[in-house]
């Protein structure tokens, strides 16, 4: 998504601006550990926020919404309990749209690509969680690093199944990504094996 304005940058910033941010952060840890949420499931619970709410709320409100959503979905608390205690509306994230992953398929232990290989990112639009940024989909780049084997977030966000694959750091020429002729700029994205194909 583009069209944003200036970055509200300040060189010295506290870890938490208000006490409630620190509490929200701790509650995420408490809920995630109680429901054994994977990193993928936690991130997806933020991504499922209503887009208007996501874009107009602060980072720790995202975390609060994620913690409450996971707590309700896993039966720790109910939405009506939350709304009674909060004395008003308690917006939660929307439902999971992708079906649960029952069969994750086999792990991939050996990297298909090595440094210097050209790769193209699959151009697809999964209904659930992914860590493949939209701005590189369909684009061709060069592998600069192989980073070992890691659990695929697209799988772990949607059930107990797991699949592990190598990840790669892939270098893209910014002018290829954006078609604007900018020079001397490369953007590197770290991508799981199944996001990639041979060009």
């Amino acid at each position: 998504m583009q069209g944003f304005g200036a970055v509200g940058h300040s060189p010295a910033e506290p870890a938490f601006h208000d006490r409630w941010e620190a509490v929200a952060r701790a509650l995420v840890v408490a809920v995630s550990s109680a429901v054994e949420a994977s990193g993928g499931e936690f991130r997806h619970s933020i991504e499922r926020m209503e887009p208007g709410h996501y874009l107009t709320s602060s980072y720790y409100e995202h975390w609060l919404t994620a913690a409450a959503t996971l707590a309700v979905e896993h039966g720790l608390v109910t939405r009506s309990e939350l709304e009674v205690r909060a004395g008003g509306r308690f917006p939660l994230s929307g439902p999971v749209l992708a079906p649960p992953v029952a069969d994750a398929g086999p792990d991939i232990d050996e990297p298909r690509f090595g440094p210097g290989d050209r790769v193209r990112v699959r151009d697809w639009h999964p209904p659930g969680h992914t860590r493949c940024p939209r701005y590189v989909r369909g684009k061709t780049g060069v592998v600069v690093r192989v980073d070992g084997v890691h659990s695929v977030p697209d799988v772990e966000a949607h059930g107990a199944a797991r699949r592990r694959e190598p990840t790669y750091s892939v270098k893209f020429d910014a002018a290829d990504l954006w078609g604007d002729g900018q020079r001397g700029v490369s953007v590197h994205a770290d991508l799981w094996d199944s996001y990639l194909e041979r060009p």
């Binding site: 583009q2 944003f4 304005g5 200036a6 970055v7 509200g8 940058h9 060189p11 910033e13 506290p14 870890a15 938490f16 601006h17 409630w20 620190a22 509490v23 929200a24 952060r25 701790a26 509650l27 408490a30 109680a34 991130r43 874009l55 709320s57 602060s58 980072y59 409100e61 609060l64 409450a68 707590a71 720790l76 608390v77 939350l82 709304e83 205690r85 909060a86 008003g88 308690f90 493949c132 940024p133 701005y135 980073d147 070992g148 890691h150 990840t167 750091s169 910014a174 990504l177 954006w178 900018q182 001397g184 700029v185 490369s186 953007v187 590197h188 994205a189 770290d190 991508l191 799981w192």
Partner: protein, 198 residues
């Protein structure tokens, strides 16, 4: 203090009311042990932060062997200084030179190397930085006060998988006589994210 002599705290904002609601319900269910919130707050406010990354950078400036290890095997070299843990298990350190400038972003969420930099600042996690640092880094860096010569190569690193990045800034000129601890005092958070040069 009000006229009746009692302290009336400011009314809670809607988000504070929601935090308090979830907190109370989780405490009732035994999911938030006594002292848990204080312990987590203390860890992120006091134990981790950019002062840790600054030690790594200063060591690399004074010890060429360490610098070599840091660039080759970031996680292990950082562990030599007793640093590591969550969001620092797969560290890659990228080196700035007169010809190359590196900068870190997480376009998908807020990935950041906690053991060396602490929690990310709010601007790093907000949409303008995440969107624009991959789209127009030269323009955005200049806006943020990091003016680069036109022929400096810019390398943007999007932390979209498990690796977390740390920028090794260039040692500033005129610091030859300084101790390692004095050098660490020069290293800023922004320089290790890559939105500033020292």
């Amino acid at each position: 203090m009000s006229v009746d002599g009692h302290h009336h705290p400011a009314p809670m904002s809607p988000v504070e009311q929601r935090v308090a609601a979830l907190q109370a319900l989780l405490i009732e269910r035994g999911l938030v042990p006594e002292g848990f919130i204080e312990e987590i707050t203390h860890r992120y406010e006091s134990e981790i932060g950019p002062m840790n990354g600054a030690k790594v950078v200063a060591r690399a400036w004074v010890d060429p062997g360490y610098k070599q290890r840091l660039l080759a095997e970031g996680t292990a070299a950082i562990a030599e200084l007793g640093l590591g843990g969550a969001e620092g298990d797969h560290m890659v350190v990228v080196e700035n030179t007169p010809a190359v400038h590196n900068v870190i972003v997480c376009t998908l969420c807020s990935c950041y190397p906690w053991p060396v930099l602490g929690l990310p600042p709010a601007w790093y996690k907000d949409a303008p930085y995440r969107a624009r640092m991959v789209r127009e880094p030269r323009t955005l860096l200049a806006e943020m006060g990091c003016q680069l010569p036109g022929d400096t190569e810019i390398r943007v690193w999007d932390s979209s998988a498990e690796v977390r990045y740390l920028v090794l800034p260039e040692r500033p000129p005129g610091t030859e006589g300084m101790t390692e601890a004095e050098l660490a005092g020069l290293v800023t958070r922004d320089s290790m994210i890559g939105v500033a040069r020292l």
